[in-house]
């Protein structure tokens, strides 16, 4: 039985759910960021699977742009985390709640 679109979408949903759980459960800002990358990667997998089964390459081009944006996002996000760590000496999001109304 060769894997069809449903297999890939289910796998993508699993990876997305694991990433979302990580974002909401963990307290370390870096691990939350890694979980976000996991979710992004799951959505890329769905895009490539659709692209393959639709027999069109536009989905893969979209994944290329998604990876470009992810690279920019990681660079800026890690710079923010470093800046926060420099001023507050912590990356635990429970201790970083100045924006908490």
């Amino acid at each position: 039985m060769t894997p069809d679109l449903g297999h890939y979408l289910t796998l993508s949903a699993m990876l997305f759910a694991i990433g979302a759980t990580g974002v909401l459960v963990r307290r370390n800002a870096l691990i939350i960021f890694m979980s976000v990358e996991l979710m992004l990667n799951a959505s890329h997998l769905a895009l490539v699977a659709f692209s393959r089964f639709r027999e069109s390459l536009d989905g893969q081009v979209l994944v290329f742009f998604g990876m470009t944006v992810a690279a920019a996002e990681v660079a800026v996000g890690l710079a923010i985390i470093i800046a926060v760590y420099r001023s507050r000496k912590t990356v635990n999001i429970d201790e970083l709640r100045q924006l908490h109304g």
Binding site: T21, E55, A70
Partner: protein, 179 residues
């Protein structure tokens, strides 16, 4: 048959290492698990005949981006920081999220196995792609053809991110500290 075996190995590897990212206590272990997970997904891309995306997944994602992550973890010396999921609040949250996640996956699996067939738009079956010069060539022709403007804008975005990162890293955190 061999495609099915490869799919199951890669899928199980990707899911178990993804669980490792979320469950491991040490940030470095999480980062290395994420590298493995990204590599497994790259294998799935190759299985889906998306060779170009598989290659940049390994070089850009598992290579460049994850080096940045491990670099920052070591720079901040977070290896010793314990990040436990505190009972009982954290455990309740984890259980609720896990159940929601399982419900989401079951919903997708059920709707995806209804036998939906999506129409082929341009007829680029793997055989046709191979005849036209391969996946990388066709994706490149798309990137430098119809998608040229977004491609150039992506370059501008990377420059903006680069400048922003440098400004943020050089900025004094607290202006009063200068005195």
């Amino acid at each position: 048959m061999s495609a099915a075996i490869a799919f199951w190995i890669l899928a199980i590897g990707a899911v178990s290492t993804a669980l490792g990212v979320v469950l491991m206590r040490n940030p470095i272990t999480s980062a290395l698990n994420l590298v493995l997970s990204l590599c497994f997904v790259a294998g799935l891309y190759a299985l889906l005949e998306a060779h170009f995306v598989a290659a940049i997944q390994v070089t850009v994602y598992a290579g460049a981006i994850m080096v940045l992550f491990t670099f920052v973890i070591m720079l901040l010396d977070l290896g010793q920081v314990q990040d436990r999921i505190g009972p009982p609040e954290g455990l309740v949250k984890a259980a609720v999220m896990g159940l929601l996640g399982i419900a989401f996956v079951v919903m997708v699996a059920k709707s995806a196995h209804l036998g939906i067939t999506i129409p082929s738009t341009s007829g680029l079956t793997p055989a046709n792609v191979a005849r036209a010069g391969g996946n990388t060539r066709l994706v490149g022709e798309l990137l430098f053809g119809p998608y040229l403007l977004p491609f150039e804008i992506a370059g501008v975005l990377l420059v903006v991110a680069l400048v922003g990162t440098v400004v943020m890293a050089k900025r004094e955190v607290d202006p009063r500290r200068r005195k």
